[in-house]
Structure formats: structure tokens, C-alpha cells
Symmetry: D3
Subunit: 249 residues, 6 copies
Amino acid sequence: MLLHQSTWIEIGQFLERSRSIVIPIGSNEQHGPTGLLGTDWMCPEIIAHEAQKNADILIGPTFNIGMAQHHLGFPGTISLRPSTFIAAIGDWVRSLAGHGFEKILFLNGHGGNIASIEAAFSELYAEASFSGRPSGYALKLCNWWDLEGVNELAYQQFPVGHGSHATPSEIAVTQWAYPDAIKSADYSPQIANTGPIREARDFRARFPDGRMGSDPALATPQKGGELVALAAKGLVKAVETFSSEPKPS
Amino acid sequence: MLLHQSTWIEIGQFLERSRSIVIPIGSNEQHGPTGLLGTDWMCPEIIAHEAQKNADILIGPTFNIGMAQHHLGFPGTISLRPSTFIAAIGDWVRSLAGHGFEKILFLNGHGGNIASIEAAFSELYAEASFSGRPSGYALKLCNWWDLEGVNELAYQQFPVGHGSHATPSEIAVTQWAYPDAIKSADYSPQIANTGPIREARDFRARFPDGRMGSDPALATPQKGGELVALAAKGLVKAVETFSSEPKPS
Amino acid sequence: MLLHQSTWIEIGQFLERSRSIVIPIGSNEQHGPTGLLGTDWMCPEIIAHEAQKNADILIGPTFNIGMAQHHLGFPGTISLRPSTFIAAIGDWVRSLAGHGFEKILFLNGHGGNIASIEAAFSELYAEASFSGRPSGYALKLCNWWDLEGVNELAYQQFPVGHGSHATPSEIAVTQWAYPDAIKSADYSPQIANTGPIREARDFRARFPDGRMGSDPALATPQKGGELVALAAKGLVKAVETFSSEPKPS
Amino acid sequence: MLLHQSTWIEIGQFLERSRSIVIPIGSNEQHGPTGLLGTDWMCPEIIAHEAQKNADILIGPTFNIGMAQHHLGFPGTISLRPSTFIAAIGDWVRSLAGHGFEKILFLNGHGGNIASIEAAFSELYAEASFSGRPSGYALKLCNWWDLEGVNELAYQQFPVGHGSHATPSEIAVTQWAYPDAIKSADYSPQIANTGPIREARDFRARFPDGRMGSDPALATPQKGGELVALAAKGLVKAVETFSSEPKPS
Amino acid sequence: MLLHQSTWIEIGQFLERSRSIVIPIGSNEQHGPTGLLGTDWMCPEIIAHEAQKNADILIGPTFNIGMAQHHLGFPGTISLRPSTFIAAIGDWVRSLAGHGFEKILFLNGHGGNIASIEAAFSELYAEASFSGRPSGYALKLCNWWDLEGVNELAYQQFPVGHGSHATPSEIAVTQWAYPDAIKSADYSPQIANTGPIREARDFRARFPDGRMGSDPALATPQKGGELVALAAKGLVKAVETFSSEPKPS
Amino acid sequence: MLLHQSTWIEIGQFLERSRSIVIPIGSNEQHGPTGLLGTDWMCPEIIAHEAQKNADILIGPTFNIGMAQHHLGFPGTISLRPSTFIAAIGDWVRSLAGHGFEKILFLNGHGGNIASIEAAFSELYAEASFSGRPSGYALKLCNWWDLEGVNELAYQQFPVGHGSHATPSEIAVTQWAYPDAIKSADYSPQIANTGPIREARDFRARFPDGRMGSDPALATPQKGGELVALAAKGLVKAVETFSSEPKPS
């Protein structure tokens, strides 16, 4: 069930049978010479939308701009500062909690978001801790590649050249979902180098075409489809597990 | 051209021929007994995506959560506070300006966003004014219903019962784009009442099913298609006019 | 009754018979070659102070600095950023609400304030909406020129050359109240041009003497007096209407 | 010269002969059973307006709401939080500095403002210190009672019962300027008690009628006039001394 | 009793017999050619740690970075902006208040902190005042040199050349506690000049070696020991007095 | 070399031979029935102070309060919210960068700090990325247990019952440094349970004595000494490696 394609009455009815919701969250940032700028928000959206076809889970709108300051040296990247990101996640959660959602799972598509999302959770929890009133909700961050079996499949599909940015696995997922937007380009070296992540200017100097440790040419729509299918199952299971935890006191 | 389905290299090439971009912006909020929660961000997204099929304009990712505090009394609504909204628009603009975009047009789908978006523009301009350094960009807010001819068509299509929230015109647009998500419901009175907009609790008391002055049952996918076609043309024209203004000094 | 010329005991007594207050709010900004920098806060102050002479309404201190970033290119302009403006309006309202005021009417004298004031109202309401506790108050923005009959009179007085900034009507109001501060200057063209409002540098380039579409030489103290008399009556009526609304739930 | 009764052109001319400006700053807060709520912003305004009659100094608009959280237990008090106060002072200073003012003197009327005003100055200076670029201005806080000879005169006028809040000296100043707003009331004890200042609830419990250590019935308009005359002279001198300091490097 | 060398269970037990805590607070900033950068946080820490040896008082961790923007022109200085300082003090107080501490005494070692600490107190109190709920705690700022008899001793020890920054008294205190870190240097003039405190660049120009009005060579470890002994006694007394005030309502 | 026991002149001299600095950073929070509240800031301080005895590295003051909202249910815990933590780290870094430090290594003692520290780094880098001006510095987060060989030693010392909070390794480190503050207590189960970290109320319910997965009774001062010796060597090496990276462009 997609929240944005539902009426408020339908969401009210859903809340009578479940207090859980999934928010796809990612980033809009360069993904190397062939990856789409939307890769990191499209992947969790694709997986979450797929998952709800076969399970009674609720998927919220996609939080599509995250913390990508290090990619700002490449055209098309849009980034929030961590402080803005924390404020925005806060308002999403306050809105959802006000409706009675008790388990809010963020399905994340961008490694660079992790620290800021966890900081956002702590900011919200601290609000409760300082006020002495329980928040009434639990928050969970789940990277799509950490869903059951997904990383294993990805490394089996791409034993060499997976890397950590503009990876063949994430690009394969978008190829499966948007076959009309498959891109190709020459690049070298075939497998990009790696290194630390700092500010945008430094990043572009270290990683001239935007890839980190990856060879995205390995991606195929079929492999993407396999990843989506497995991840969608994993997401349903993760939601079930999270939902079955006792209500936050 | 959709930014999120492009590579950074393609955006770099686009910037050589144009410095303009369109950001669909809306809200995720209740739209009465039959309207979709995503109506206000889906409308500008639908129109902008349609427009770029026939013109070389660039559409960014959709800014899907806006200022909808007054709708928080209805399940499924997600709102940013104005201060968060201003911060987030700021980071979007700073990101885009850093790439060289000089004309940033926000195609808006939610009346409740207008004040906060204009405040966000002033916040950004003030940053430049206080620093004594020009920002290098111009910002424009354009509601989709204000595009050339659109309001006229809507009032011709719905001479009675258009209203101001959960209107048949916006619902028709989503019906055209998402025919599988057309909803129906009984409601009364046929045309909802009107009144001032204050906080969420007051809003729900005044407008029990969420509509303001509207009869959304008048919507049809066909009328939605007519609106989209006209609005898409209007958007292309608005972008052209904006782009032809001299570069901000 | 002027709050700042009252004791706290007198205000306590007023609160036993009314829960309404008027806050004149404006801006301190250039008003063309002959307009006073204080025009936009002096006008609502003049009207509100006049109105309370003949009615039992309470006028608070004047909020004299607003959102005027676009005028910062002209000496003497003082502006808050929207974020600061929102924070300050918030503290005024929280202070007044703490005393039991339930209807707070801002009588505004500056078009450039409107978006930020409305954003401030939403910020306050959102605080209540997120907390799940009603705010207990209603907020109203009222531009002095929108008071009953005022715009009609102004356009009757100045059928040509009224414009939108440094208008003869606002300058006439200050001439009536401060006849010793009437200024004159040569300028051309007689009626200033118009255009969009962006950052300060751009504004000064477009509107070299600060006027927008106006010919302020048309102003006379007598016409100002007529405007004040009508606006003062309109304000009393607006307060009565607002006060007669049911107490916010 | 009053800034708000001048045109931008006149301020531009003033800046050619001086880079100094005086901002009256105070608070709107309870002042005991007979003191006006506006006492603390009216006093510096009265003195500054008087001073500019006999000297070529520039007086800005009055910053009329300050840090008065401890008085919020009494009707009519309006307070900014320190964080809001700091932000607002910041924007006033940034605006004025942008026009070329180099010496900005805040003539203060409220002891409770001092810490927050000094914190605001440090916030502004820190902005410069962190950026490595000089601010170009110097800021000075001057309480009107600390102007040359004023405290001495006040203690000579009121050797007993001066106290620290709702003092006969400040009330005398407003009596001189606003003789129609002189109030009287019975109160006891004749001289109020003293104690620490904490939050509003505590303040009202300690100081039931709002006075601290004072007997405001000692005030007379004539004594107020003597104070104003002396303070106005002192202000002119303070501005001269401050202006004669070398331009900030 | 040192909080950081206690377990949470021991603090729980302490709270059963006392609701008071002392937080040493200072600054890390240049202290002239011979003073340690840590002087201003080490002094209150030394005194507080000494005091708890002979009395059942609780000393929290040292808040070691304060408001020292004016010293940023000298290597090694670390400063918070006032706004950051206020936020951080706020979180310390909210944490301690949550455990039931009702009397929180900040033992301060840096004059430049005073305004920001008092602003922080007001910010916290305002939170309570605006919410209408009592905070439940009282806050007290106490400079170590203002403890009973300390200033008198310092001026008796150093009748000439005490000054206001890099004073022989504060340097003596650190010499007593850290005899291995006693420094010496030639400087002139023997007694440094004085002047106003503004931004960092201006400060360094006025006070080239960092001293203000002082001759730190007068310091000896023995004089430091005398000051510590007296201040430690004064602190115990100040805590007793503060603790004996009625519980905040 | 300890910054706080140095003069500004000594730091100026250090900067001529190195542009690197180490900041010990931790948290003040409950550490189970026997762990000291200061454990997490004392460990990196102990290690860093030890390391500088044998190498020419510079250690800054200890940042002793971090992000520990989940421990606020236990007396003595003091926590910053992530937003405050980010602001404060920002001001430390801006201060140090202003003096010319180019490599700032935070030696961290608290797992709960990691996300917020990384978010703080991104906030600072984003400031540079948005401004288009390079920051001039590189930031590095290093947990003391991740220094070369340390984790291995800890798991060798404590093959069972190490856990993740109130671990025998961190407690051993404080026992070695503060033998007078060694505590003992009975607790059960011998090895605490584990689980997710959420808000403070939930944390205390899950982990009643504060431990997570650990048996701190295994700690001995001798094992602590071994850990400190190894970590100190590891820190010197980490600083060398970081320092040898090219200057940030």
C-alpha cells in the first residue's frame, strides 16, 4: 500500500491493523559516468514499492534528498546539510507519530546518510528523554543492501569490482526498473580507486569520474531484478520483525 | 529531461546550453474522502514530467513534503514546519547554484506552501544581501494552476464546486496519471463549506472530511488530461520567459 | 488603549473584558526620494493609535522591523531575515498567549512582510499541531490597505500613479501624522517602473530611486487624514469581527 | 536626526559626515503598580530623541522588545528569548553595517537586556573572528543611567527607595514625556523588597506587585525632566567619544 | 565527590541527601606570554576539586570551552559562539535537572563567559516561562574571584599589576596546582595596557602579547595556594547557602 | 605536549613544525554498577596524555560531554543533543582551523558519539562545499579501541564478557589511571544482555543496571595499563599517518 496513492480514510483504516510504516530514503547525487543521479533514492523506492505488492505493508513517500555534500563537485547533486536533514527527518517522524505510527522504518539507499539519520533518531529520542515523556515510537534504519541475503547475492553477482559508490548492484537495480534510462560510457581504470571521503573539492580530485572502487559496467537489468526480488522479501520480513516488537512504552 | 534519470555528465552538458531548472514542489496531505494524499506533489510532478517530453527543459527531483501543518489532524499527512522547509529549500538552491544554475523555477502544487517558499527565497536573497556578494541566481515560484490558461480552463470545467482544497481539478490531474488509484466515497454536503485556516485541530473541526469548498466527485481523468496538456505547455513557456531574462548580476 | 502606556494591572483588567489585541507591524526601509524610512511601521501605528481613541481596543507596541532584504541596497533600511522574523513573532505571540490573549491581530504596513508573517503563524500553529495540545489562540494578519473601504479610497484619490512601493497613499498617511517631516524631491520618470522583487542588488538596479510604479508627489496630508479616518474605523470593525469568533478550542 | 523620519537620501548624506548611529533599546514589561509597561524602551527613546534636537547625531528606530522572561508572570509583558534577541540584534547590525555605519551605540533602558546584548555583540564579532575577515564596525552598549552624571543625579533625587526595578527615576522620565499617562496606586510596603531574579513564576512569588526595592511614588515629572536633560547631554558626549575612536581595522 | 569518578548508583545515593551540584566552567584561551591556555577552566576545576575534599559537595565535569572569541587571534584559543554556548549549557542543565538536581551552581573562571552564561540561564528560564510549567531548578553563576574574601586577598597579594586578563592571581592558582608547567618570559611593558574588548583582530592589535593590565610575573605558587584554600572554603559556603534556599516552586 | 598546559607562544612554535592536533572526545554517562561516569572521556584522555609523553604530538583539551541521550535514565549522565554536539564540534574546529591546524584527529571514547561526530564533520565540510571555498583542513575520527592492535588485545584479555557498554577493557583503563576510584558491586546476570538502543526510558527498562553484554568485574588495572600502552603507541602512529597526508587543497 502506497501512502501517497491512498486517502486519509484508508490510512486511518490501515492504522487499525498496523502501526508500522516504511519510508524509502536516499540521496540525489552523482553515480559515476553511467549511474543515474537518482540511484540512491530510486533503489529503496523500487524495492519498497515492489515489496508492498505482496504484503500488507505501508510505504510512505520517498525522502529523496539526503546528505551528499561530498558529491557537490559533480553537476546534478543536491544535498542537505546534516542539520537540515536532521530537522526534516524530525518533522516527518513527528507528523507520522501524531497519527499513531509506532514503528517507523527508514529503508535507506545511501551510505553517506547513515550517520545523519542516526543522529536524527538521537535528536528525536533526546527530545523525549529531556522532556521526561516517552516518544511513543521506535525508529529503525535499514540499508537495502543489509536486508537478508542481499549483500551476499551482490558479492556473488559481482565478486570483483563491486566497490562502494556507483556500484554495479545499485545500478543494476535502477536498470531493472528504468530500462529506458540505461547509460553507457567509457571509463578507466576499469575498477575505480578508493580513499577517504572528505569535502566536495577533495572528493572530486580523488575520484575524477565519481566512482569509488567500482566497475558499474558489470550491472545488468536481470541482476537488478534478482536483487530487487530478494530485497523486497527481506523488507517484508524486516517490517514483520520490527512490528512484532512490543509497543514502545 | 529528468535530472534523476540522467548522469552527472549529461547534466554538465545541459548546463552548457541552459542555466534553468524546474523543481516540482508540493505537499503530502489529506485531500478529502477521495483525493490521494500525494495529490499536491504528484500534480506538479505529472505536469513537469509531461512538459519535458516535448521541450529541452530540465526537471529536478520532486520536493514532496511541504508546509501542511493544518492538515496534521488527518492520518497520512506529513508536514515540515516553515523553519525546516526554509532550511531545506535553502540547501536545494545552494546545491543547484553551486553547479551554475541561474534560474530556478519551483512549480508548486500546494497553496499552503506559498508563504513559506517566498520566505525561503527571501532568506536566501538576504544571505546575499547581508554578505554584499550577489547570489548569482534568480528564483521563481509558479503555481501550476497559475500557468497560462489553466485556471480559466479549470473554472470552465468546474463552474460550480471547484473550491480551494481537494478540488476537482487537482484530483482530475491525478486520475489522469494514476487511473488505478481513482477512489470514490459518499460525502455530504455535496459542496464543502469554507473558512479560515488555522491549526490542525481547528481545521479538522471546521472541515470534517477535509474538503474546503469543493465537490471532488466532478473530477474525471479526461478533464485531468486536458489540464495537464495545457499546464505542460504553460510550463514550457514560463521556463522560456524566465530563461530569457538577463543573467542575475 | 495603548499597552505600553498602561500598567500591568490595567492590562489584567482589560483581559477580564476582552481577549483581543492589535499589534501594528511594519518595516523600516527606503520609501523613495521623499518617503520616510519608517513609513511602513508608522502607518499601522498611526491608524491603530487613532482607532483606539474611539473604541475599547488594545494596541500593543509597534513591531517596527520586518522583512525588507530587497531594500538593503538603500541607506537606512533595516531588515530581519525571515527566520529571525519568524522567531521574533513567535516570542511576541507566546508572551501574549501566556497572558490569556486569544485573538492576536497583526495590522501590517508592508507587503514584503506578508509571506514571513504567515510563515510565522504556521510555525506557531505547527508547534501546537505537533505537540497535540491546542495553542489556545487565533492569529490574523490584516494589511491596513485591506481594511474596509481603504483600497477603494486610495485608488479614488490616486487613480494614476499609486503603484506598489512608496505609494502616495502611505506617504499621505505619514504626512498627516508628521507634517513637520514632509519631504520633497525631483524625480523622474514621474511614475516609476515596475518589475519583480529579488535580492537587494538587483532591486536597486531595477528601481534606482526606490519607487515601484508610484508617483509619491500626489500625496497630501489631507488625503492621508481621510485614509487614516477610514482605516481606523475599519480596524475597529475588524477587531470586533475577529473577537466575536468563538474561543479557539 | 531621526532615521525613521528621514529619507534614504538624507541618510546617505549623513553617512558622508558621520559613521555613527544610536539605537534606543529596551523592553516592554511590567513596571509595578504605577509604572508603564513601555517604561524601559520609552526612556532611552525619550532621551535619544531629546539629544538629537541639539546635536547632529542619528537616532535609529527603537528596539522595543528585549529579554524580560522573568516578568512574563505579569500581564502585558512581551519578551524575546535570548537566542531570538541575539538573532534580531544581529540582523539590525548587519543591516546598518551594510550601509557603512562603523560605530553602533545601543542606548539601553533595561538591566535584564545587558547579558543578552553583550552576547549578541560577541556572536557578531565571532562571525568575523571565525571568518578571518574584519567586521568593520564597533559596537557599544550604554545604559542611560550610566551616562555621565545620571546615576549621581538619580541617587541625589531619590536617596531612599530608588531600588532596581520600577524605580522612581525611570518612572519620572516617562512622566515628564507622557504627563497624560501618569498613574497612581496604593501599594505596600512603601519600599519593595529585593532578591534574586529567576524564572517568571518565581519572580511573581517574590515580588507580588512587580517592584524591586523601589518606591515609585517618589517620581515627579520635574525630576524626570532633569534626568532627561542630563542624560541627553551625556549621550551626545558618549557618541562623540565613540565616534572619535579610530575606524575599526 | 567528583561526579566523573563516581558510579551512577553513587550519584543516586547522593541525590537522596542533596539536590545541589557544582559545575566548574571556564575557557581555553591565551593568557599572555606565561599563562597557560587552560588557565580559565583549570582555576575553577582546581578550586572545586579542592573544596570537595573537605565537604560533602558534588563536583561535575569541567565545562572547559567557553566564549573567548576575542582571543581567537592567538594560537591555541578555542571558543564557542554565544549561541553554541547557550545551547550546550542548556543541555547540561536539562540533563542534570532530569536527575533531580535543583540547585546548579556554575563556578566560573572567565569574565568573558558571564554574559553568555546569564543569557543561557534566561534561555532556560524562558523555556519554562513560555511553557507555563516550572523548571524545578535554580541556577547560579559564581565567579571564583567573587567567592568570600578572594578578591580582597588577590588585591592584597597584588596591589599593583593585577589587571583583568592573564592576572597574577589566576596564574598563581595554576602554578600551585601544576608546578611543572610554570612558564617564564620577558615582556614589556611590565604592566600591560587596558582597553575595550571587541573582535579578535582588534584585540590582538590592542594587546600584542595578550595581557590586559596585568603583570603575571608577580604570581607565585604559594600565593596561588593561599587563593585556592580561601576560594575552596568560599565555595563550600556558597553551596551551603544556595542549597538552603527553598526548593524552586 | 598538552595544549592547555602550554602558552600561546608555545603553540605558535608548534605550528611551525606540525599542523596536527588530537582532541580526546567522549561522554559522561553511566557505566554500569562499577564503571565511572567519566569513563568514556577519561579513556581517550588517558591514552592521549600518555602518548604525548614519548612523541611530539599536541593534545587539546578533552571534549567531555557527548551524545548519550539513551543513558539519561541513570543519574549523573550528561548529554548534548546531536544538534548541539554538531554546533560545538563546529566551533572547536573553526577555532583550531583559524590557527592553521590542518589535520584534526578526534580520539573518541564513546560509540554513541560516532554518528554525531561524523555528521558534524559533514556539516563543516558542507559549509566549505556550499561556499565554494576549501576548508583547508581534514578531520578524522578514531575510536581508541580501533587503534592498531587494541581491539585484538581486548578480546584476548576478555574473550568472554567484553560486551559493548561498561566493558572490562574501558573500565580497566580507568582503573589503571585512577586506582583510588576502583569500585565494586554485585550484579547479575554476570554477563549482561544486549539489545537495540533507543530512548532513555526504553534503555533503562532493557538494561536495568546499565551494562550491555559485559562483565566489568573482569577488569584489572594491569590489563588497563597494557591497553593504554598499546593504544598510546597506536595513536602516535595514527597521527603520523594522518600528518603525512598531503595538505588539504
